[in-house]
Amino acid sequence: MEKYVYIALFAPLVSSIFAALFGMSSKKNFVGVIASLLLATSFMASATLASYIAEGGAAIHVTMMEWIGAGDLMIPFGFMVDHVSVTMMVVVTLVSTVVHIYSIGYMDHDKSFNRFFSYLSAFVFSMLVLVMSDNFAGLFIGWEGVGVCSWLLIGFWYHKEDVSPEVNPSISPSWAANEAFIVNRIADLAMLVGIFVLYWNTGSLQYDVVFAELPHLDTAILTTAAIALFIGAMGKSAQFPLHTWLTDAMEGPTPVSALIHAATMVTAGVFLVIRANPLYSMDAVSDVSYFIAALGTFVAFFAASMALVNRDLKRIIAYSTLSQLGYMFAAAGLGAYWIALFHLAAHAFFKALLFLGAGNVMHAMHDELDIFKMGGLKQSMRATYYYMGIASIALAGIPPFAGFFSKDAIIETAFNEGTLILWIMLVVTAGMTAFYSFRQVFLTFNGDHRYKEFGIHPHEMYKFVLVAMSPLALLAMIAGFFQGSFQEFITKLLPNYEMSHHTHELVYYLGGLVLVVAVSGIALAWKKYGNGLKRDEKCENSFIYQLLKNQYYIPHFYAEFISRPYALVSEMMWRNVDMKIVDATVDAIAHILYFSGDKTRKMQTGNLSHYLNWMGVGFVLLLIVAAITTVIG
């Protein structure tokens, strides 16, 4: 079995290096094909491993070699395939295989075609390292690796110019890329601190050793570690207040948004919490876990609210990603780790599908993203319409599609735990989710053909791309039916979470309520947008609409109160402190020496008589010194 581990892990690396060899030459289709084949190989290997584990095989550990060894620290390149990591592996490799094939079509006209595949495969490799590592340092490799690949991919169209935030809130791809990297780094520092805490208290970074030591540690240490690791997760999963980068990251090519900023990388934070479940499920850190759930719920609601009014096709989907990540954190924080993982997987399928559909629309609309300028696209893009429809139904949580099962389970968990406020917020968010998903579908595909004003002639995507998207559509439809078997599979490793008897009795009412809320959200969307765009000036000028449209003014706040002061303080540090104080002091000392020499130089007149006079002065001074020392001594 070990060879499958290596195949699954290294096929994407090989693909990346292979594509990189052609990185500077013109577009070559075979690069995309070979990369996709290698990714498919990786998926096959992952699937083989998954079936092996599902059949009751023992978790596989492989240790390749020592990485860092200093003092007592020993970090190997160790990989582990168990129930959790194999689930992630299958999800990651499946979505990325589809995205690779999709990209062959989507990046068809891009002259940096080969470079794109190199980055994309490198990302998959990093993500696999992240999920497969058997220690925190290896996780951190993947963690930073996906960060840097995300930087490369968001900034893929680096040649675009910076524009003012009024024109494009992301300013430019390269700006958005830097923002993503730096915000992630803030969280990474916290993550490192978490790693340090665990190392100095358990003496190792291996998961098994660390988790075995946990019961012997103080509450304070556990709390610090839990908080620090969670802050790390917040950055990668774009939780408030580190969320702004995710919507700006939509500047990257759409396949990237589908793969990285929806299905895989942003779920790394959730994965970390799930992986560290022995820590987060301890009683000593129950407050931290509750905070995770509360923050997740808040973000679910907060992000959904911003999606309600946005006009940018990709940004709406990005907000919905944020919101769904909030759901996952809510579940993980409440102790329902397997439900969080289940939602993670289901979400990956329909969200990737949604993004890829959006990519088709962009392709058809010549990179126009404003849904107010679309409308009636279903005539020309029937397949995409169906895909987006399926994905939106799944996202909105309408049975029998995947989203219903996983999201409903999370809402039930909130009810089951008796955290009513969280439950209410999650139910309301479900309604909002349904509304904004269908607002977007209706504005894009139904109603009048607004794009005609702009002289655009939309056309459907290539056939093979549409075919490649079909597995995702299928999974978005049927993944929910596997809830039971997934629970059985995953709870061999993760703590099981069962609803109480009381909740169980109410389950149909609860599910019905959520369904009613979701359907009414869709109905409202149909009423407002089903027959084309009717703009409501009064509503659009209202305070709340403006507040949501401007993302609660948070990017503005960051720019004014963090970025600008930082730049100003830096400038001041350089020009005033470094040049005028530190360096000036050094120069002043040199100048004092120089000037004292320059001034006293005049004594050197060349006139012997003057010299003798100075000698007399010196003689008298020495006498005085001698006298004083005699008196004092």
Binding site: Q604, T605, G606, N607, L608, S609
Partner: protein
């Protein structure tokens, strides 16, 4: 009775006269005279103190000084004559050629 202090006062006065000469005079020859006065002030003090302690070392030292002063004058005066021949003056204000 003439005691040690009288000699020392004389020596001090002589030394002061010599010092003032060194500081104020501009003519090199006069400077020589002034240094000679100062040396002799030291000689007086040596001899007096030597007598006071009944230790001949001080007087020996005075002889040494006299000898050194004599040879110094011999060399110095020679140099002065060369200087005078070259510049036509012994005034220090006109001899300043090594300005810093």
């Amino acid at each position: 009775m003439i005691g040690l202090s009288h000699y020392l006062i004389i020596s001090g006065i002589l030394f002061a006269i010599g010092l003032v000469g060194v500081l104020r005079r501009k003519n090199l020859l006069m400077l020589f005279f002034a240094t000679e006065i100062m040396l002799n002030a030291a000689n007086v003090a040596f001899a007096a103190v030597s007598n006071y302690y009944h230790d001949l070392t001080g007087q020996m030292f005075a002889f040494f000084i006299i000898a050194v002063a004599a040879s110094e004058v011999a060399v110095g005066l020679g140099l002065l004559i060369v200087l005078y021949k070259k510049f036509g003056t012994l005034d220090l204000d006109d001899l300043a050629s090594m300005k810093g």
